[in-house]
Symmetry: C2
Subunit: 162 residues, 2 copies
């Protein structure tokens, strides 16, 4: 029951995925282009926002997916003169989208975070460290180094026995 590890269905928790499911990128593209035409980078940002910063698919995920889908005829890309390649749903793509279960959650929702995410606080900490690095005196930087070193040790301890 509870003798066995505090994992349960916990292991790595009730929070969002690490890595997207197979096909999640393509499904996300289908849904986004169902709303309006977009280019690749735009989709990356959109997914980043919709997942609250927890799924920002890398170029290595997005651009091959777009090419794949284009090859399969579900989307069509038009090269603009500004170096942007804007994609639109084809009829086949629209059909595929219509066939999708409308109650199924969008892929980015699988990445929704509860409040326990370390991301924002880590981000703030980095920003503050940067401030000290840029504008602090040698003494202040030394102090900062100490603080950060201690924090690191504390994090180790949490994983070791916390």
């Amino acid at each position: 029951m509870k003798g066995d590890h505090p994992h349960g269905r916990g292991g790595h928790g009730s929070r969002g995925r690490e890595r997207a499911r197979r096909g999640a990128a393509a499904e996300a593209v289908l849904l986004l282009l169902g709303e309006r035409p977009m280019h690749g980078y735009e989709m990356i940002e959109e997914l980043d926002q919709r997942s609250d910063g927890n799924w920002r698919p890398s170029p290595g995920s997005v651009y091959p997916t777009l090419r794949r889908m284009e090859g399969r005829g579900v989307i069509a890309g038009a090269e603009g003169d500004d170096g942007k390649r804007v994609y639109t749903l084809t009829d086949a793509g629209r059909e595929r989208l219509d066939q999708r279960d409308p109650d199924a959650p969008a892929p980015w929702e699988a990445f929704a975070e509860d409040g326990a995410s370390l991301r924002p606080i880590v981000h703030e900490l980095i920003a503050q460290a940067k401030q000290v690095g840029r504008f602090g005196t040698a003494q202040q930087r030394e102090k900062a180094k100490e603080i950060l070193t201690n924090a690191k040790s504390d994090l180790y301890a949490v994983m070791a026995d916390g």
Copy 2:
């Protein structure tokens, strides 16, 4: 006078620059290509290493510089079939390099850090936070959040009155 602020020639310290001098990128390229032909990304990595991670010029610095220098005839770029554009010194470039004062320090040396850099420890801290985020339980993540929040406050305090 000198009564003002514990800055002296301290302000932001005896450590490396924030931003490269005007012309530093071009000078660095000249020096690197004096050693061997390289492509853009390779130079970025090389400068990152030679400056101990303190100057990793962004694509927005490097690629325009390469094009500029090519336009001025000091370097020549050859497009490979693998998407890499390898640059070489031209005779004019070699001449320019020979005319350079050999005792002058290389641009990346201006970024040399004393031991007070926060960069490595910040990096380690991020790595450890990631570990907790990936593999930690909800309790452990909560603890980590607390630790990081405290560290942030401590850093604020250092800049405020430390």
